[in-house]
Symmetry: C2
Subunit: 500 residues, 2 copies
């Protein structure tokens, strides 16, 4: 068995090397690549992606996995080996169904679609993106058919990002929280409003960066195994063991966008930095699913970084950095300002109370497109209508409406739900952590993040991708993913801020 | 034939994608990678290198090349197709002789050797590098044996970098110029010395960069297809069509190191930017050999960038940037200072008159090591002895002596000669260009570089790697590579500067 396992690991290592090389190329593409390099970079990524897919879906790989599955009964089911075999079998089953030609086809469709999307958004002209979105949709529908029969056409897509989760589960969860979130927002709207004018001043980039680095360092991010660069859209990426980077952007006229995105991406990177070396170069190396990953980014961004104790510690420091802008602002007013609730057009700038509504809207529209209930050409109108009904405002144009997110142009359908699930999981975990670390708030108020990081390390990060998301949440919290804790969190937090 | 050619090009494109991806990973490794990423990066590069080698040396590739060679007689021998087949056949013949295991072995040996070299140089302790250099030497000797019988053990190594050149040719060229360079240096030593104190002042990095960008832009470097970053050692790299980058370093207390390295690397990059798109993703995409490449970097660095007309144009501008440092310095004094001749310890900082002696020294020692005439353990003493005899000074320690260059630790034996050959070729080309562009100096004095770039584009860059170096030089100059023009250039230039 060991010989077969070693043979499998050799293949997996090569596949992982190819995938991480693609990540380096992708990082460079966003961070530094000159515009002239785009076409060649697309070709390079296509070749690496095809070789990775061919290596993993080779008959030899399948035979090894099959042989190992037969012998896996002797292993501790929670051992790295048993889990590796299980995860490989699941991935192999999925990937073997996808013809290589479809992989290449997707690369071509999305390469053109993402370029078209950029132009369409810049000109706020949906018609320029429409034919590309139609191709993406068509490809995605054919992709889903590869996994027929299914309970729901969306299931095979969701399963790419949330192994084991069903669309019906997600819909049930969202149906449960939607009315409560809508009700909270309407109570906030009726309350005395928060003034966040002090956040809309000039905050020079270099000083934002210096303060951000201080917080990120305090969180425990290891700069010897990472770095921070500027991109149009912030992201976090794992370029192989010992190299987990984040990217950020700056708005010098608004305080929030840099810092909270930096803390968000740091949350993702802390997770990846915590996955142990012995899992490297296997499919177990990395986070367990997008929702669990998002639970970590949102935890470090919001439950820590937008909390009162956090600012009790960091606000005096921030006031020194921005003495002119914030010298006369109390910590209480600042805390309320960064947590201001207001329906807004752009998802990535949404406050915690309204954020999930943005997600639900996208999920519903995605499903309707996939089922053929809404034609692509009718998406702008459908978007605006639903936006008005959920958030009470109507986008003035498609750039701030249906065209705002890059995901569909990349072929990422089935992805959005994970953002909202991550919020829910972050609150579920937080309740457990508060019990495990009774002085958690006191520690945060002293700028001590090591106990929190250590808890996450022990309970989540060290396991890499060994457990599926529902299993992971159940092991830690005793129940599956649900919205109760998040609703409690929102009601407590915003009840206090808005005196509800 | 077209079908077979297309099939071959598909393989070549994939191999090129892998190689360019490796270049991106290598660029990042030097420019941005955090230290923690080193081990994983080495694994990724190993996998990409092995897949590229396997792809190119596959039996399928060989069969296609063989079949195409049989039909190539019908083609114009200077056509892209005929040259592609010829170059592929030569590369295939070479690479097929190298077992995959030796490729992997070299990666392992040199990965350890380059780390050891860094430590050994930092501590100036050759004993820490010695066992690694012995392994590199052993591997290189075994590599050379793969190509036996040969005229000279160094031939198979040189042929990696200068296709078609023989060690005997290089030795004959060097033997011809050595006495003349030594004589020039001794006449300079006896003349009134140049004062370069004004170059050793504080020149802030940001202002050096801004001035450098201005010159690089004037040269015609296309920033939409390139960029400039900081690394420990400057280099130029081609990451695929439309993406040719340079890297630089700064010394804020000495004017020369940034600017002339930047112009040097720009010379390499201009060459690569000039290779046309239809050669991309084939072995014809890139410079023809290291010597021809170096002829371009040295041409733009020295024959242009260290010339009087260049500074007639740029010096007033430089004086504005560094008014405090250079406001009182005449252009003539500045021109002499940047061209000061003085035997020095470090090759990369050597002036034009002494530079080639550094190279000859290395070539002779490399050959003696390969022939077993000098043992690795005796290299520091042999180095110092020869250095004293050629340049009249003795390195105070091994860091400034035998340990100064990174090349051997990377397994780059057979490489050094190309630096000196590049100098010679740059002067050979310059004499031809001066005839083709009678107003060349006048154009440079007006900051007009387009005619020069256009000439190089037409005569060199557009051909990519279609012609071997001797053939390329002969086509342009009517004679093979030789030192006559370079000796004339040195005597004229330094005769004027030193009133010889």
């Amino acid at each position: 068995m060991q010989a077969k396992l070693d043979e499998l690991k050799t293949i997996l290592a090569e596949v992982d090397d190819l995938d991480r090389a693609s990540s380096v190329l992708g990082w460079d593409q966003e961070a530094y690549m000159p515009p002239g390099g785009a076409e060649a970079r697309g070709q390079q990524l296509g070749t690496l992606g095809r070789l990775s897919h061919e290596g993993f879906t080779a008959k030899e790989t399948g035979a090894l996995i099959e042989a190992l599955q037969k012998q896996a009964g002797d292993l501790d089911p929670d051992s790295d080996e048993a889990r590796l075999i299980k995860v490989c079998a699941r991935l192999y089953e999925r990937q073997i169904k996808v013809p290589g030609a479809m992989v290449v086809e997707k690369a071509e469709i999305t390469s053109a679609a993402s370029q078209a999307w950029q132009g369409a958004r810049a000109e706020s002209d949906f018609s320029k993106f429409q034919p590309h979105l139609e191709k993406v949709l068509d490809w995605t529908q054919r992709f889903a058919e590869l996994f027929a029969p299914y309970d729901h056409v969306y299931d095979p897509l969701l399963d790419s990002y949330e192994p084991g989760m069903k669309t019906a589960d997600v819909q049930a969860i969202f149906d449960g929280i939607r009315p409560q979130q809508v009700e909270l927002i309407s109570r906030v709207a009726a309350a005395e409003q928060v003034d966040d004018a002090m956040l809309h001043q000039h905050f020079p980039e270099a000083e934002q960066l210096a303060f951000g680095e201080e917080v990120i360092s305090a969180y425990g991010y290891d700069w010897d195994r990472g770095r921070q660069d500027k991109t149009t859209h912030p992201f976090s990426t794992n370029l192989g063991y010992g190299d987990q980077r984040i990217t950020v952007r700056y708005d010098e006229e608004f305080f929030n966008p840099y810092l909270f995105a930096a803390l968000h991406e740091t949350g993702h990177a802390l997770y990846e930095q915590g996955v142990p070396k012995h899992l490297a170069r296997t499919p177990l190396y990395g986070g367990t699913s997008l929702a669990i990953h998002e639970s970590q980014s949102r935890l470090w961004e919001n439950l820590v970084g937008r909390s009162e104790p956090f600012w009790q510690h960091f606000y005096p420091r921030l006031q020194k950095v921005f003495a002119q802008q914030l010298g006369d602002v109390t910590v209480d007013d600042f805390y309320k300002a960064i947590n201001k609730v207001a329906p807004s057009l752009i998802r990535v700038e949404a406050d915690e109370a309204t954020y999930n509504l943005h997600i639900m809207l996208r999920l519903e529209l995605e499903i309707a497109m996939l089922e053929g209930e809404i034609a692509v050409k009718d998406m702008p109108a459908a978007w605006n209508e639903r936006f008005e009904s959920y958030l009470g405002i109507t986008p003035p144009d498609d750039a701030k409406g249906v065209l705002q997110d890059v995901h569909w142009s990349f072929g990422l359908m089935g992805y959005f739900a994970t953002y909202a699930l991550g919020n829910l999981v972050s609150a579920q975990l937080w309740e457990v952590i508060q019990q495990a670390l009774p002085d958690l708030e006191g520690q945060i108020a002293k700028g001590e993040f090591a106990p929190l990081l250590e808890w996450l390390q022990q309970n989540i990060y060290q396991h890499g991708a060994k457990f599926e998301p529902q299993e992971m949440v159940a092991r830690i919290t005793g129940s599956k993913i649900n919205g109760d804790a998040y609703i409690r969190y929102l009601n407590d937090k915003f009840g206090a801020i808005y005196n509800l």
